[in-house]
């Protein structure tokens, strides 16, 4: 099962990279399609971020008494100010550990 999934995921990824190189002679993408594609990360990644931050292990929505919410908020703030991938991840983990292990 896992191998089938992995092979298909690999093939589909390769297809996204190879398709246009194989088909196009010049750049045919219209401005509209480019704009929509530029939104893909903003449209997909929150679908992973939100459940991982706001839901507990049984899938219940928890805002208060949830260390992950505060940790994520600090990470967003640090990321917003520094625009650094590493600072964002490290600050979020640091706050989570602080809340879990010391408070």
């Amino acid at each position: 099962m896992i191998w089938t999934t992995l092979i298909f995921a690999g093939l589909v990824t390769f297809f996204t990279r190879f398709s246009m190189i194989a088909l196009l002679k010049k750049n045919h993408f219209g401005p509209r399609l480019r704009v929509v594609l530029s939104y893909v990360p903003s449209a997909v990644f929150p679908a992973i971020i939100f459940p991982a931050v706001f839901l507990n292990s049984t899938g219940q929505l928890v805002f208060l008494d949830n260390p992950k919410v505060l940790a994520a908020l600090v990470a967003v703030l640090i990321g917003y100010l520094t625009e650094s991938v590493i600072a964002t991840i490290v600050s979020g983990l640091a706050v989570l550990w602080l809340l879990i292990f010391f408070i």
Binding site: T5, F18, N27, S38, S42, A43, P46, V85
Partner: protein, 231 residues
């Protein structure tokens, strides 16, 4: 040194500044791969077979949640759909190459390699060996990605579960969109997708990720309409 190897080496060096976030990202993927129960072999081979970090992380996350092949593969497809754009942009510079070259260069067409080599291509419109630049940037990124994954796999076997390192997954994704969501339209798309994901989270087969992405893209489509026609 031949012209070809000079261009190849330039590609290797041009991509290096962009490798700084790639190293911790690869390490995080290796650790998460082990923590999600993929095992070291699958985790290692995933970095070779898929070779696209954020989709690999989503794969591991969905796999732990018990998602089906269809949901995992479609999520990977959506996350990697941005490559269509890269592929369309570099296509015009690679038309004269043999199929074998096109296959190799497609495999190496990552975010970072695209950024540096596309810039080089626009500057070198007459150079017939310019594709060696993408080979250099792509290969360098590939090599570093594999090393980082292996480091993560080794660390993943040692690091205790109590550290909650799985939380690095949403944090990594936050770091990847943080610059985009400074713009209000991107923020609207992101919040729409996030709310849809929460609402539909308990649907069977983890389909929420596909639904949330579709909702986000639909809103983006609407916004792109207003944005383009306002100009």
């Amino acid at each position: 040194m031949t012209v070809k190897s000079k261009i190849f080496i330039k590609g290797c060096f041009d991509v290096m500044p962009l490798l700084i976030p790639v190293v911790p990202f690869g390490i995080i993927f290796g650790v998460i791969g082990i923590e999600s129960g993929l095992g070291s072999t699958v985790t290692f081979l995933m970095s070779i077979i898929i070779f696209a970090g954020s989709s690999q992380l989503a794969f591991a996350q969905l796999f732990t949640g018990g998602a089906t092949t269809a949901v995992i593969v479609s999520s990977v497809a959506i996350i990697n759909s941005r490559h269509f754009l890269y592929s369309a942009v570099v296509a015009q510079y690679l038309t004269k190459l043999k199929l074998f070259w096109k296959i190799i260069l497609s495999y190496f067409l990552t975010d970072q390699a695209f950024i540096v080599s596309q810039k080089y291509f626009t500057q070198q419109s007459k150079n017939k060996y310019r594709h060696y630049h993408l080979l250099g940037s792509g290969f360098t990124l590939w090599f570093v990605w594999q090393l980082a994954t292996v480091t993560g796999i080794i660390l993943g076997e040692i690091i205790p579960k109590e550290l909650n390192l799985a939380f690095a997954v949403p944090l990594t994704f936050i770091s990847l969109i943080i610059v985009d969501i400074k713009k209000i339209d991107h923020l609207i798309v992101a919040i729409t997708s996030g709310i849809f994901a929460i609402i539909f989270f308990n649907l069977p087969l983890k389909t929420y990720i596909v639904i949330a992405a579709a909702a986000g893209i639909l809103v983006a489509f609407g916004l792109s309409h207003t944005r383009l026609y306002r100009k």
